[in-house]
C-alpha cells in the first residue's frame, strides 16, 4: 500500500512539476519556448567542459578497482570497520560508497539479490546506498565545471559526512530491523 503510494509519487512528481512550470510560465510570458531554449543552450557547453575532469577521475577509480588496490584497501579497513559493529559483508559497500556511485550501486544490487531485499543485510545495504552521495564524483564534477583548483577542506568534509552516514545506517538499521 505505502509502496504503491511512493511508487505513484515518484512517477508523478516530474510530470506534474514540468506541467505546472509550463502553465505558470505561460501565464506570465508569451515566449516560453524562446525562454526554454535560452536556458537550455547553456547545458551543452557545460556538459562538454566536464569531459577532462571526468576522464581523469574515472580513470583513477577504474585503475584502483581493476588493479586490486581497492580490495587491499577494503581488506585493510575491514578490522577497523568490524570494530564499529559493521557486518563483514557490508564493508565493501561502505568503502566503495564515497568512491564510485555505479560501483556502490552494483554492490548493493548484488547484496539485495543474494540475501534478499527483506533480509537484514538487504535493508542495511539499501539504507547505506541511499544515505549519501558519491563524494569523489560530486567534488570532481562541481569544482571541475568552474576550474577550481584548490578544493580546500571540501574533500574532508564530504568524507566525514560519508563516514557518519555509514555508521548511522548501521546503528539505525540495527535498532529498527533487528
Amino acid at each position: 500500500m505505502i509502496a504503491h503510494l511512493v511508487d505513484l509519487v515518484s512517477q508523478w512528481v516530474i510530470p506534474i512539476l514540468i506541467g505546472t512550470v509550463i502553465l505558470l510560465a505561460l501565464r506570465r510570458k508569451t515566449n516560453i519556448f524562446d525562454l526554454f531554449v535560452e536556458g537550455a543552450k547553456e547545458g551543452v557547453g557545460m556538459a562538454l567542459r566536464l569531459i577532462p575532469f571526468l576522464v581523469g577521475i574515472l580513470v583513477a577509480i577504474g585503475l584502483f578497482r581493476d588493479s586490486g588496490a581497492l580490495e587491499l584497501l577494503i581488506g585493510g579497513l575491514s578490522p577497523l570497520l568490524a570494530k564499529l559493529n559493521l557486518p563483514p559483508e557490508i564493508i565493501p559497500l561502505a568503502v566503495m560508497r564515497p568512491i564510485s556511485g555505479s560501483g556502490a550501486l552494483a554492490i548493493t544490487a548484488e547484496i539485495i539479490q543474494r540475501d534478499g531485499p527483506d533480509s537484514y543485510l538487504g535493508r542495511l545495504a539499501s539504507t547505506m546506498q541511499g544515505s549519501t552521495d558519491t563524494t569523489l564524483f560530486v567534488l570532481t564534477v562541481y569544482f571541475g565545471s568552474v576550474m577550481i583548483k584548490k578544493s580546500r577542506h571540501a574533500l574532508f568534509a564530504g568524507l566525514i559526512g560519508d563516514f557518519c552516514g555509514i555508521i548511522a545506517s548501521a546503528l539505525i538499521c540495527g535498532a529498527v530491523f533487528r
Binding site: 509502496a3 505558470l24 525562454l35 574515472l58 577504474g62 584548490k150 559526512g161 552516514g165
Partner: protein, 193 residues
C-alpha cells in the same frame, strides 16, 4: 588535495598490479574508463540541456518565489553572504529541491549551474569560496526524502515492502548531512586548508 589523491590512486594501482602480476590489466583499464567518462558526459548533455531550459521557465514563472519562501530559513543559515536576488540563489534552491524530491539527474545540472554562479561571486578564481565548500558538503551527502533508485532496485528484486527503508534512509542521510555541514564549518574556522 584532489591532485594528491588522484596521483596516489594511480601510482598505488600500478604498483599493486605490478606486484601481483596483473600489470596487463592497467592499459585496457585506463581506456575503458576514459570511454565510460565520455559516454557519461554524452548522457549528461541531454539531461543538462533539458533541465536548464526548465530552470529558466521556473525562474520566470514565479515558482522560484514559492520555493524561496519554503527553503529561505535553511538557505539563509547556510549561505549568509549570497545576495537574495543573485542567480546563484535560484540555482541553489533548484538543486536543493531536486535533491529532496529524489530527482538525481536534475540535481546535477542545477548544482553545476549554482557553482558557475557562485564563481561569479568568488574573489579567487582557482580557490573554492566558503559558500562553494558548504554547497559541496550539502551535495556530497545529499539529503533525500525519497531514495527512488534504491526503492526501484528493491521492488525489482521482489521485496514485500520496498519502501520500508525510506525512514531509516532519511534518518541516516540527515546524520551524514549534518556531519558534513558541521565538518565544513569547523574545518573552515580551523583555517588550515
Amino acid at each position: 588535495m584532489i591532485g594528491y589523491l588522484w596521483a596516489a590512486m594511480i601510482c598505488i594501482s600500478i604498483l599493486v598490479a605490478g606486484l601481483t602480476g596483473k600489470i596487463a590489466v592497467i592499459t585496457p583499464s585506463i581506456f575503458s574508463a576514459a570511454e565510460q567518462a565520455v559516454t557519461l558526459v554524452i548522457g549528461l548533455i541531454s539531461v543538462m540541456t533539458f533541465w536548464l531550459g526548465i530552470m529558466k521557465l521556473v525562474e520566470h514563472s514565479g515558482l522560484i518565489e514559492i520555493i524561496k519562501v519554503i527553503l529561505r530559513p535553511v538557505v539563509r543559515l547556510l549561505f549568509p553572504s549570497i545576495p537574495r536576488h543573485h542567480p546563484a540563489m535560484n540555482a541553489i534552491l533548484m538543486n536543493m529541491s531536486a535533491n529532496l524530491l529524489g530527482m538525481g539527474n536534475a540535481a546535477t545540472p542545477f548544482g553545476i549551474k549554482a557553482m558557475e554562479e557562485m564563481q561569479e561571486l568568488n574573489l579567487h578564481r582557482e580557490r573554492a569560496s566558503d559558500e562553494m565548500c558548504t554547497f559541496l558538503a550539502l551535495n556530497t551527502s545529499s539529503l533525500s526524502l525519497l531514495p527512488t533508485t534504491v526503492i526501484g532496485l528493491r521492488a525489482a528484486a521482489g521485496s514485500l515492502n520496498p519502501t520500508e527503508i525510506v525512514g531509516t534512509t532519511l534518518l541516516a542521510s540527515a546524520c551524514s548531512c549534518l556531519a558534513a555541514l558541521a565538518a565544513d564549518r569547523l574545518l573552515r574556522r580551523w583555517g588550515k586548508f
